[in-house]
Point group: C2
Chain length 250, copies 2
DNA sequence: GAGTGGTCTAGACCACAAC
DNA sequence: TTGTGGTCTAGACCACTCC
């Protein structure tokens, strides 16, 4: 009966008056237990039925919490076996800027210098946006240099449809995404392609690095919730300061 | 009543005798509709209630199908507004090898040549595996060269715990993951860090490319379902043949 | 046979957006 | 007010793994 003896019960306190969904409160509690060592790699999590009885939840709610952590790569489930912790804890490396930084940290960018601001078109810029935008649609072409910790970190090239108004003065003080949001862009989804290439002489100069210099490239295509293009970004990062982390569940 | 007039009904045929879950049959049908142009970017999807009535499904089942496509970056949902298509279709670029290739295509690797096979330890190899493995645990050290389409594509360095038996003859003919699976490794999850660096002279020679050469680096840490280490891979890819794609929902 | 996760149903109430 | 997605309940039956 009940759970097999080696399963670990997580200390969970749910607040049903909170606006935070119950499944998210639960997944955060489990994640915290993994973080602080109460649950260690290889440990078995209490099974769903026991968990739901103990916490007074319906099973789909508990499943949703666990599923969130499976997708994040912290847990693994096997039918007939149970749910286990696979990852020790999240390594937060100060050197690393995550995928998110370009969008999520938009609120207060460390320091961004506007290099140039011109007008172009997708065909002139060599961008193929087939279904989303005609090749002769006018675009802003921005080149910016991002600094962090007193060092140049990345050269960011942004293409933004001309229906947005981008004022150089505003660009200096505010993040690009703030400006776009203000003008009604409901940013919904970004597709990113990560690769590598050598920096040319000008780029290495801007990044204040000797050549030859290997850089991480990221091409970002950002759409709003109507599927309209908000931005194409082509960014060049110093490889010693930027990596991308992903998890893959088999 | 019913749906707002501009919503698109997808042609779906569900097979309740199939072992494929209903939610997955539905999500595949919607994805196919996006692929073949029946649903275009900006189109609104039929709402959940209408969809569930029409198909005779419960709402959570339809939600699960739609959620799958939201995570894949094809759809966006907004409360009070509806569900919309954001992405034209998935660009399948032959040049691109996805994140998955290292694990999923393990069945039939195009061609992999074993360069060296030695023994080392985490501390000697400069790998820190803190909780998962003591620094003096013996490891296989493999260096392999992967070919595709008659060209060298990647240099793969693998560290595998000595508890696995890796026979050079078997390694030549079989994929590494096949061998590990055969010996009981239930591969569960991989964490990957993508970056870039310059290839050294030997590496450029193996890849048959002139220097300086910028390469994509991928460090893979693979765990089994008990949280035990199965493999650490440090791979160096030709940047002109390898990129990584991810999506980011805001 | 017992324990476990995987799928599915049939509802309920709420929060947000548009009219 | 109406349509929409977001959350949650309380069950059901099935498939897989281990004993």
């Amino acid at each position: 009966m009940a759970t097999r003896s080696d399963a670990v019960q997580v200390d969970v306190r749910l607040d049903r008056t909170s606006p935070v969904p119950l499944y998210h409160q639960l997944s955060q509690a489990i994640e915290a237990a993994i973080d602080n060592g109460a649950l260690r790699p290889g440990d078995r999590l209490e099974n769903e039925l026991s968990l739901t009885e103990r916490l007074g939840l319906a099973r789909p709610t508990a499943r949703q919490a666990i599923q969130e952590l499976v997708r994040k790569g912290l847990l693994v489930r096997r039918r007939g076996l149970g749910t286990q912790v696979v990852r020790p804890a999240i390594h937060r490396d100060a050197r690393l800027t995550s995928l998110y930084s370009d969008l999520a940290s938009g609120g207060r960018e460390p320091d961004t210098r506007l290099l140039t601001h011109d007008t172009t078109t997708p065909s002139a810029a060599g961008i193929d946006l087939g279904d989303v935008m005609a090749p002769d649609t006018p675009l802003h072409l921005l080149r910016r240099l991002r600094w962090a910790d007193g060092e140049p970190l990345a050269i960011m090239t942004n293409y933004v449809p001309a229906r947005f108004e981008l004022d150089d003065a505003a660009l200096a003080g505010r993040s690009l995404y703030d400006l776009l949001r203000e003008q009604g862009a409901q940013i919904a989804i970004a597709h990113q392609t990560i690769g590598a290439r050598l920096a040319d002489a000008e780029e290495a100069g801007l990044l204040e690095q000797p050549r030859p210099l290997a850089c991480v490239t990221a091409e970002l295509i950002v759409y709003d919730d109507a599927g309209a293009l908000v931005e194409v970004g082509r960014h060049l990062y110093r490889a010693d300061r930027y990596t991308v982390q992903t998890s893959l569940v088999v």
